[in-house]
Amino acid sequence: MEKTIASPAAGIYIHIPFCVKKCLYCDFYSETALSRRSEFVSHLIEELSLRQSEYPVDTLYFGGGTPSVMDPDSIGTVVDTIRRLYRLSPDAEITLEVNPGTLDRTALDRYLAMGVNRLNIGVQSFNDKHLTLLGRVHTADAACRAIADARDAGFKNIGLDFIYALPGQSVQAVLDDLQRAVAFSPEHLSCYMLTVEPGTPLEHGVKSGDFTPLDEEQTADHFRLVSQFINTNGYAQYEISNFSRISRANGVDYRSKHNLKYWNHYPYRGFGPSAHSFIDNRRSWNHQTLDAYESSIDGGLLPVAGEEVLTREQQFTEFIYLGLRQTDGIDVQEFERRFDVSFYQWFQPVFEQLRPKDLFRNSSERCALTLEGQLIMDGICRIMVDRNLQPNL
C-alpha cells in the first residue's frame, strides 16, 4: 500500500455558517440570517489575520452551512487573504461545498478564476420526493443542471454528496440514485446513511412518529448495496462513506486530500464558528454561535471556546477509530511506532473474541475492516479501545 500523503502540510477549513433554510437532518451550525454575511466575512478575515502562520498549507476547504450562499467575491477575498497570510501551496486542493439551489453559472466561473479547483455538490438525491423529505431547497433537475454547469465551467474535480437509508426508501430507489450519479462520472462520491442527530427536526419527527427510520437490517442492506455498486462502477471506497474515481491512467488521486487530514491526525486549522483545529496533538474549537464568535473577535481575542491536548490514551482511541474508518485501515507500523507495543500481540484477545475472518482484512502492514466489519465498526472500536484498559479482557 502506498503512503498516502507524505507531506506534513496543514489543511485550512473555513466554516460558512449560513443556509437559506436548515435541512431537517443537519446538525452542523448555521444561521438563516443572511443579512449577517458581510459582517461575518470581515470577522473571518480578522480571525485569519489573528492566527497568521508560516506553516505550509496544501488544502483549503469551504464547508458549512452553505458556502454557495456567499457572494463569490467574498469567497475570493477569503482565498486572497489566505494566500497573503498563509503559505498556501500553488497546487493546493481548494474545495468549495455548493448547494444546487444556490448556484448559478456565472458564479462557477468566478470560483474557478479565484482558484477553487474542486467542487462538492450537495445533491443528496435525484428523487424530488426524497429531497422534500430531507427539507432540501433544490430539485433533482437543479442538481443535474448544477453538475452540468460545473463541468461546462471547467471543473475537473467534482464530488457529489448523497444521503440514503431514508424513511421508506427502497433498495431500488438507492440504486436509481447511484446509477444516475455515476452517469455523471464525478471524481468523488460521498454517500451517507441518514443519521438521526440529537436536536435536529428529524429527531423530533422520529420521536413524534412523523418519520419511521429504516430498521437496522434494511439500513445494513442499503450500505452493502452502496459499497458494492460504487466499488464495481469505477470507484474505490476509501472511507466508510467516501469513494473516489479510480484513475490509474493519469495517476491522479481523487480522494479528498483535505478530509484525509482529519482521519490521519494531520494538522488542520479551522476558521469560523464551531470550526475545529488540530495542531501538534492539540485540538481546539471555536465558539459555536455566530454571536459568540464575532463578539470574541470584536474583543480582539481568538474565538476559541475550548481545547484539549490528547493524552496517550486519547490518541490511541482516535488512532484506532479513525484508522478503521478508512478502507486502508490502521497503519500497523505507525501504530507500533506511536504506542510502542506490538499491534497483533496487543489485540490478540480482541481478535480471538471477534470473528477476524469475517470482519477484518489483516496483513502485517494494515489492519482493516471488511464490508461486514465496517457495518459494525463502532462496536469493534469499543472492544479494541477497551483493550487499552482491561489487560485481562
Binding site: 479513525l322 465496517q374 462496536g379
Partner: protein
C-alpha cells in the same frame, strides 16, 4: 433531673422530621448560622440525598423556658425506616416522650401508627405535631380528626408547625418542657445505662451513645456490658452531643450522651445492651435487648477481577460502623471471589452498597437478595440456606420452610382492590381489615418475606398512587415448596443469577427474569440467548439480538472529539459491567432478575 427532657421525633418518612430537627437546633443556637447546614443530623451524603435517616443522632438542646429556668432537651433522632425498627425501639426506650409528627396534607400513615404503638409500648408521653401547615393542600381539620379517631389522642394538644418556615417551633420547645415528664432514676444507685446506638470514629474508636437510667458514669470508671460479663473497659471520656462532642465530668441518671472507652469496633457494643460498673453492677439489665438479625442476604462481588482486596478492606472498615452488617467469604464461578452478606432489609442493603461504592470507590455487583430458608433433608439433617449456590440436590430435600411476615397496610379504601390483588399475587393471606375512618382502611396480610424484600413497597406505592403505607413484623416459618431457578446465558449457567423461588411462581419468575435480562444486557456483536431453567428443564427464554448496523456515517474535524468522548463514556460504563464468558453483563442486571414488572 427536673431540668432534663428526653424525647424523640417519630414520623412517617417525608413528614418533615429532619427539617424540624434543623429548626430546633437553630433556635437553641448551639451552632452558628454560618456553620449550619440543612439536615444537620444526617451526616451521610446518602441520608441527605435520599432524605432518610439511617444512623440515629442525638443532640442536647439548651433552652430557657417561659418560666425563666434553663432546661436541657435531649433530642434523640431515630432512623425512619422499617428496616431499622429495632434501633428505633431502643432509642424510644431512652426517652420519656415523643413528638409524633404528622404531615398536614398526608395525614396519618402506617408508619405513624406503627411508631405510635412503639412509643406507647415504652409508656411515652406523646405530643402530636401537625407539620407543613403552610402547604396549600394542608387539611388541619382532617388530620385532627385522624389524631382523635386513628390514634386516640387528644387533637387539642396538637401543636401547629411549619418547620420549613419556622412557625410554631418555639411552641414545641415549650410543649416539651411543660408536657413531657422529666426523667426519673436514682443517681446514687448502681450504674445502669441503655445503649441505643454507636458509631465509629477513626481517632477514638467506638463512640457509644447511651442514656443513663440510674447511677453516674465518669472518666476512669471501669465498665462492662451486661451481655458480656467477661470483658471490661476503662472509660476515657464521657460527654454530650451538641453537634460536636462536648466532654463532661460526669453523666448521671436521666442524662443522654456518649462514652469513649477504647472499644475497637462497634460490633463489640450492641444496641439495646446495658452498661454497668464492673465492680458494682446493677442487678438487672434493661429489658428488650436482642441481637439485630439480618433477614436479607446477597452476595457482593467487585466488578474488576482484581478488586477483591479492596472490597475486603472496605467491608472491614464499614463493619466498624455498622454492627448489623454480617458477611462471610463467597465464591462464584461467574464472578470470582466475593462475600455473602446479611442485611436488616433491602434499604440496609442499598445503603451498604452505596457506601461501599461511594466512600471506597468500588464498583460492585450484588446478586439477587434472598431470605433464609429452613430445609430438612431426607436423613433428618436441618439446614439453613440463603444462598442459591449452596442449595442442595433437590432429591435430598425432604421439606422446606420460608419466613413469613405480618404486613400492616393503610390505604384510602378506593385502593382496597388493588392492594388485595398485589398481596394475593405475592402469595399473601388477608387476615383482617378494618376501617380507621370512614374512608381509610387498615389491611393485615401474612406474606412470605421473599415476596416483599424486593420491590413490594415500590409496587404498593404505585398501585395506590403514593397513598399506601406499609409496615411489617417477622412472624414465623411456614412450609414451602422451593425450586432453584437458574439462568443460562449462551448456554452457560451463571450461578450469580440463580434464585430460590416458590414452585408455583417459578415459571412466571423465569419468564420475567429472561425479559428483564434482555432489557438489561446491552446488544453486542453476536446473538445472546438467555434461558431460565429448573434442573435440566428450560422454562423460559429470550434473545438479545446483535447489532446489524453500528457505524457512524460521518466523522470530520468537528466530530472527532465528540466521537472519542462517546467511546470514553462507553468504556467508563463498562466499569459497571462484568464479562461472563463473552457476554458483558451490567451490574444492574444481577438485581433485575427479581423485578416483577409486567406480572
Amino acid at each position: 433531673m427536673k431540668n432534663i427532657r428526653n424525647f424523640s421525633i417519630i414520623a412517617h418518612i417525608d413528614h418533615g422530621k429532619s427539617t424540624l430537627s434543623d429548626r430546633l437546633i437553630q433556635l437553641t443556637h448551639i451552632v452558628s448560622d454560618r456553620e449550619f447546614q440543612d439536615q444537620i443530623l444526617d451526616n451521610m451524603d446518602i441520608e441527605r440525598e435520599r432524605g432518610i435517616t439511617i444512623k440515629s443522632q442525638t443532640v442536647c438542646l439548651p433552652y430557657t423556658a417561659v418560666d425563666g429556668k434553663q432546661y436541657f432537651l435531649n433530642l434523640i433522632d431515630t432512623p425512619g425506616h422499617v428496616d431499622f425498627s429495632y434501633e428505633v425501639s431502643r432509642a424510644l426506650a431512652s426517652c420519656e416522650g415523643a413528638l409524633l409528627l404528622i404531615d398536614a396534607s398526608q395525614g396519618v400513615e402506617a408508619q405513624t401508627l406503627a411508631n405510635l404503638y412503639l412509643a406507647l409500648e415504652h409508656d411515652l408521653e406523646i405530643i402530636p405535631v401537625i407539620n407543613k401547615i403552610d402547604l396549600p393542600s394542608a387539611d388541619i381539620e382532617r388530620v385532627k380528626k385522624q389524631i382523635e379517631d386513628d390514634l386516640g389522642l387528644d387533637p387539642e394538644t396538637a401543636i401547629m408547625v411549619s418547620a420549613k418556615e419556622g412557625t410554631g417551633v418555639e411552641d414545641i420547645l415549650e410543649g416539651v418542657v411543660r408536657n413531657l415528664p422529666p426523667p426519673s432514676g436514682d443517681a446514687d444507685a448502681p450504674l445502669k445505662s441503655l445503649i441505643f446506638d454507636s458509631h465509629y470514629d477513626a481517632f477514638r474508636g467506638t463512640i457509644v451513645h447511651f442514656r443513663v437510667i440510674d447511677g453516674t458514669i465518669k472518666a476512669g470508671d471501669r465498665i462492662r456490658f451486661m451481655s458480656n460479663s467477661t470483658k471490661s473497659y476503662k472509660v476515657e471520656e464521657v460527654g454530650i452531643f451538641q453537634i460536636v462532642r462536648v466532654p463532661q465530668k460526669t453523666l448521671s441518671a436521666g442524662q443522654v450522651g456518649y462514652m469513649i472507652a477504647g472499644i475497637k469496633t462497634v460490633s463489640d457494643t450492641r444496641c439495646g445492651d446495658t452498661i454497668t460498673l464492673d465492680k458494682t453492677p446493677c442487678v438487672k439489665s434493661m429489658p428488650g435487648f436482642k441481637e439485630a438479625k439480618p433477614v436479607v442476604f446477597s452476595s457482593i462481588y467487585p466488578v474488576a477481577s482484581d478488586g477483591y482486596p479492596e472490597l475486603v478492606t472496605a467491608l472491614e472498615k464499614l463493619k466498624l460502623n455498622d454492627a448489623s452488617l454480617i458477611y462471610e467469604k463467597d465464591t462464584s464461578v461467574a464472578l470470582g471471589f466475593g462475600f455473602r452478606c446479611g442485611f436488616l432489609g433491602l434499604l440496609h442493603l442499598e445503603v451498604v452498597q452505596e457506601r461501599l461504592e461511594r466512600e471506597y470507590d468500588l464498583s460492585l455487583i450484588l446478586t439477587a437478595p434472598s431470605v433464609q430458608y429452613q430445609l430438612t433433608l431426607n436423613d433428618g439433617t436441618e439446614l439453613v440456606v440463603d444462598n442459591p449456590a449452596l442449595y442442595p440436590d433437590p432429591t435430598l430435600i425432604d421439606s422446606a420452610k420460608e419466613p413469613y411476615i405480618k404486613a400492616t397496610i393503610i390505604v384510602p379504601d378506593r385502593y382496597m382492590g388493588a392492594v388485595m390483588k398485589l398481596c394475593l399475587d405475592r402469595r399473601g393471606i388477608n387476615k383482617n381489615y378494618q376501617y380507621l375512618t370512614n374512608d381509610r382502611l387498615e389491611m393485615i396480610f401474612e406474606l412470605p418475606l421473599s415476596e416483599v424484600i424486593f420491590d413490594f413497597y415500590d409496587k404498593l406505592k404505585s398501585v395506590t398512587q403514593g397513598y399506601g403505607s406499609f409496615d411489617y413484623d417477622l412472624i414465623d416459618y411456614r412450609p414451602s415448596r422451593l425450586v432453584k431457578l437458574d439462568i443460562l446465558i449462551n448456554g452457560e449457567r451463571v450461578d450469580a443469577l440463580s434464585q430460590l423461588v416458590h414452585e408455583e411462581r417459578a415459571v412466571s419468575r423465569g419468564r420475567t427474569a429472561c425479559e428483564k435480562l434482555k432489557d438489561e444486557i446491552p446488544r453486542q456483536m453476536f446473538k445472546i440467548a438467555i434461558q431460565g431453567a429448573i434442573g435440566g428443564k428450560i422454562i423460559s427464554r429470550s434473545t438479545v439480538s446483535p447489532f446489524r448496523k453500528d457505524v457512524t456515517a460521518k466523522c470530520y474535524g468537528g466530530d472527532i472529539t465528540r466521537k472519542r468522548k462517546l467511546l470514553e463514556k462507553q468504556r467508563k460504563g463498562k466499569r459497571r459491567m462484568k464479562m461472563v464468558g463473552k457476554v458483558m453483563i451490567p451490574q444492574s442486571a444481577f438485581l433485575s432478575v427479581l423485578k416483577t414488572d409486567g406480572e
